[in-house]
């Protein structure tokens, strides 16, 4: 009887095992469906773009795979290609890089002294590590303060008394403000110390260096700035400007936010004038005009002039980034600091700047990337940056006519450095992000 059958209850006692999802809904296939073929438009785009990219890659591949790595000149290189039955443009000639890599990296720095820039680079990286990574012990920051002076000495050589006495002067000034300033007025001590330091560096430094050097010679072989070149020159200019422009930028940003109209307007005019004019015009100014601004008869190193110009240029940009951070800080932070009875510099040092700098780190790193790329512009005033070295190499009879291999090598060098900086900035952004919308 049908009724009977219907009345028979069926109750499942156990759960069914979960089934595998259909083949099209997992793993690679799902990924392809979702990311490549989600709609007709996407299918067409994927096919077209993949075809174009593949054709480009396949077109360029033989050029790379046939490349010659060992040859002494372009003609030599083409002979080797011809022996394999290839035309002169069928294969790259990366032999130029293996032959001239030392010039691309070090310019005309003395060959037997390559260890000095390398050591300086390692020291610099070691010095900057505690600043970049907050997990390292804070006591390493002393090393960060000293590293630039050691690097300076290693790169340019000469007597070690110069950096030593500069460090001694700065340390003395610090001790004075720290210990005497705690007893007497900090403002007054600060001003007096500043005056003393300026006096010491202006008048006393060079005679004292000479005196100490006569007593105990701490010299290593000096290297002139004009022997710097290639990637090392870019790094020297870029990193010096980075290190020097950050404190200057902080001061400029604070000045621009100042309540004192004169200070504020001086900062605004400086920042806007510097930012309004391209770097290349400033570099020409350094080359053509700086002698007009200095007392008659003085002339100093072009590389040093460039470093000063690039530093001032970068400081104006960094000041604007930090100003953004200062503006973004809630007003309550300023008011809280004032209500605790902190002085201007105390509140800046303990409350305002740590927070403002934290907000502006990604922007600062971006400015640094821009600054590092802009160091290539020094080629226009006759310094041999990496692009300038490629010209110099092309000007030799052996490598006349080599473009792409050199450009690829220089491009890769910059890419690696700038990409590393960009990744670091991204890492910081993720570290400091607060998700609230």
């Amino acid at each position: 009887m049908p009724g009977n059958q219907l009345s028979q209850a069926f109750v499942r006692t156990g759960m069914l095992d979960a089934k595998q999802p259909p083949a099209g809904e997992t793993g690679l296939i799902l990924w392809i469906r979702k990311n490549l073929l989600s709609s007709w438009l996407n299918i067409i785009l994927t096919v077209l773009v993949a075809y174009a990219a593949l054709r480009l890659a396949l077109g360029l591949w033989p050029w790379f795979s046939n490349s010659v790595w060992q040859a002494s000149s372009l003609a030599d290189c083409r002979t080797i290609l011809a022996e394999q039955g290839l035309g002169p443009t069928d294969g790259a000639c990366f032999a130029v890089v293996t032959d001239r890599w030392h010039q691309l990296i070090f310019g005309f720095y003395p060959t037997d002294l390559y260890w000095r820039p390398i050591l300086a680079m390692i020291l610099f990286l070691g010095g900057i590590a505690p600043i970049l990574f907050f997990s390292l012990p804070r006591s390493l920051l002393i090393f960060s303060c000293l590293a630039p002076f050691v690097c300076f000495w290693l790169l340019w050589g000469g007597t070690a008394w110069l950096p030593l006495l500069i460090v001694a002067g700065l340390a003395g000034g610090y001790a004075l403000t720290r210990f005497v300033g705690a007893v007497i007025s900090p403002t007054l001590t600060g001003l007096v110390t500043l005056a003393l330091l300026i006096g010491f560096f202006w008048f006393g430094l060079m005679p004292l260096v000479g005196l100490m050097e006569a007593g105990l010679s701490l010299s290593i072989r000096p290297v002139a700035s004009r022997e710097f070149g290639g990637f090392m020159l870019a790094a020297t200019i870029g990193l010096s400007a980075i290190v020097l422009s950050l404190p200057l930028g902080v001061l400029l940003a604070l000045a621009r936010q100042s309540d004192l109209p004169l200070i504020k307007w001086s900062a605004i005019i400086f920042i806007e004038v510097v930012r309004g004019v391209p770097l290349i015009v400033w570099l020409f100014t350094a080359q053509l005009l700086l002698n007009y601004f200095l007392p008659p008869g003085t002339s100093f190193d072009l590389t040093l002039r460039v470093i000063i110009m690039v530093t001032l240029f970068a400081a104006a940009y960094i000041a604007e980034v930090i100003r953004g951070g200062l503006v973004a800080l809630p007003k309550g932070q300023h008011e809280g600091a004032v209500s605790l009875g902190l002085s201007y510099w105390q509140s800046r040092r303990l409350i305002i700047l740590p927070q403002a700098l934290k907000i502006s780190i990604p922007g600062i790193v971006n400015e640094f990337i821009g600054l590092f790329k802009d160091t290539t512009l020094v080629v226009f005033i006759g310094l041999l940056d990496p692009i300038g070295v490629t010209r110099a190499i092309r000007a030799t009879p052996e490598w006349n006519g080599v473009y792409w291999e050199l450009f690829i090598f220089v491009g890769l060098l910059f890419y690696v450095v700038c990409y590393a900086m960009a990744r670091y900035s991204l890492h910081l952004e993720n570290l400091l992000r607060r998700d609230n919308y």
Binding site: L36, T187, L188, V281, T376, Y415
Partner: protein, 436 residues
Amino acid sequence: MLAAQALKRVFMSTIEPSRKRGFRLGQLVYDTRYRSKSIQVIAAIVILVSFWWLGSNIVGNLAALGKDFNLAFLGAPAGYDINQTLIPYDNRMSHGRAAVVGILNTLLVSFLGCIAATVIGILVGVLRLSDNWVINRLAAVYVEAFRSIPLLLWIVSIFAILSEAMPQPRDFRGDDATASMQLFDSVAVTARGVYVPRVAFTNSLSGNEAVIPRENLAAVASGSADWAIIVATIAVGLVVSLGIKAFVDRKQIMTGQRPVTWYWLAAVLILPVLVALYVLGATVVQPYLKGFNFTDGIFIRKSLFALWLALSLYTGAFIAEIVRGGIQSVGKGQREAAAALGLQSNRIMQLVILPQALRVIIPPLISNYLSLAKNSSLALAVGYMDVRATLGGITINQTGRELEGMLLLGLFYLFLSLLISGIINLYNRSKQLKER
């Protein structure tokens, strides 16, 4: 330590209440009423002294060189040629005229670069948000490559590609030509530059002058009266179409119905332009080979083309990031709320996302235009005759007026950048969120 104590006693005495003792010197440092003034006076003295020092150095150095500060050189004959002139110029004209030619060349490459960079930037920025893996990866590679490699390297590379890998005009000749023109024989990419078609007017208002072939960009401007008419027609069409939109909006508010207006808009915007083009006898003139070179059409010099392309691709990468950031900056809740109201996805974009994203996008976009204009001074790498090459280059070399020349050059760039940042400020003020 004893000395420090004594010093302390001396200084501490100065902050005791000064009511009965009158004004004391220490108040200049410690009293907030006077401190800001004394700091500013010191700053003013420092600034004035350093300016006086710089000024006296300049005067002394100029005197030592037997020079003076004089802008009269701007009126003297320049005596050099410029290979791309947007206004009539020859080497008997003044240095001032040469500077203006250079300024116009700077503005030309900046303007073209801004347009191309915006198009590239918006396209790539949107593609980077695409859910198609191949496309967003490729967009990311483009952005990373151009942001991490110096602009100068891109400029010299693109210039080298044009000069080394592109065919010479003679390769287009004869039956065994090794090169051919692109896009239906209308565009020739050669190692000297790019030749593109131009529009000429057979019934030109400026007579037949407009169809005379010229090997220069000035050829475009030859029918300037005709172009003025076409621009005016478009402008009138735009004004009328805005009027139509206002009328339709009013009608929609009053009746709830929105009339269909696309054929009105077409009639107002497109038809008059077509009529004007027909009446003026607009024809497309293609470049063609004559002798060993192309003639007619517009000749875009290799230097201009390489500089323009590199600037656009480079700035485009930065704009792409701005566009992406702007779109991502609009909270997810905004999109969801709009969808919950029943809006379609294109309306969500148009009414909710874009107005908020543009507030974030436009200010950095304009400042990127500014940096493009300043970066155009890298024209030096390819020999493009911009203002730095004329006023800040050859003129300085010929007259020996470094101080005046660099000053004028700096003032030009400063004026340009203040103008652009003024525009940003105006925009920010008009779009600022109205808060308490």
